[in-house]
Symmetry: C2
Subunit: 149 residues, 2 copies
Amino acid sequence: MHESKELERQLPLALRAAYMALHRSTEAAFAKHGVTADQFVLLLTLSKVRALTQRELADRISSDPSTVRAMLVLLEKSGYIDRDSHPTDARAKTVSLTVAGRRKLRTLWNVGQPIRDELYGAMTPEEAELLLSLLRKVARSFQQERSLS
Amino acid sequence: MHESKELERQLPLALRAAYMALHRSTEAAFAKHGVTADQFVLLLTLSKVRALTQRELADRISSDPSTVRAMLVLLEKSGYIDRDSHPTDARAKTVSLTVAGRRKLRTLWNVGQPIRDELYGAMTPEEAELLLSLLRKVARSFQQERSLS
DNA sequence: TATTGTTATACTCTATAACTATA
DNA sequence: TATAGTTATAGAGTATAACAATA
């Protein structure tokens, strides 16, 4: 009873603190490479598929079309992504990595390796697996709430 | 071997997705109350102690003095916090909640209850406890890295 | 009618560097 | 010398609303 009241307060703050720590480390590591942590997430998301529309991209990185556009404009200026007209939907644009974008992503992946080592060094593989599944439960619980409205 | 490579990629993204989902829900819930999710975290942090300096506050909410100052200026304008000169250190200021700030925090706590219900509804109390301890391990692993520099 | 993307706009958070005052 | 806070400044993400073109 009493413990759970405390837990209730601490879990959201702990989630924030853990993310902030990760985000800050990533931001610092990427600073000299001219890419933000969020831009890295966008590039990484693009690398897993051939191409996405801006709307799909916004959903996947937990953002919105307006924000994604602002990020894409910056990334396009840096030459890391292309925006082409969609083959079947004339309203949409397909976003994809350029060759330079793929190369940059490989560099960033290596730059971020010490951060991931730090992360996984703090727990066993079993704990990491468990954490992953719990985090997904958390994300899913809010997505359901979102789709209700 | 191969699974762990995938896990390695997914855990940071899952942490981000979970936090973003929480943050977005919180932001939406607080929007009509004129307070951001980050300001709520600041108020909540202040509520747990009598008073803090701006430097201490920055550390506790995983931020920096400049950002904290910007937030405090807004919160002071809204009448939720006071900044008084520190009793023994003339350089420092002590930040504390006003009566209005405490009242606002109570309101915000209630407004946020459905979000926490959503969060805890997605898992058992044991899982919540486990998630909390794993998130703390994550945060601690990066704090150590930080203090080395 | 609904959806994709754009544009304009405003706000918040972030972060660095130079600075003052104090320890 | 180091630290607490301020200030100026710039940039990046967030988000809403109005809009055009298309489905």
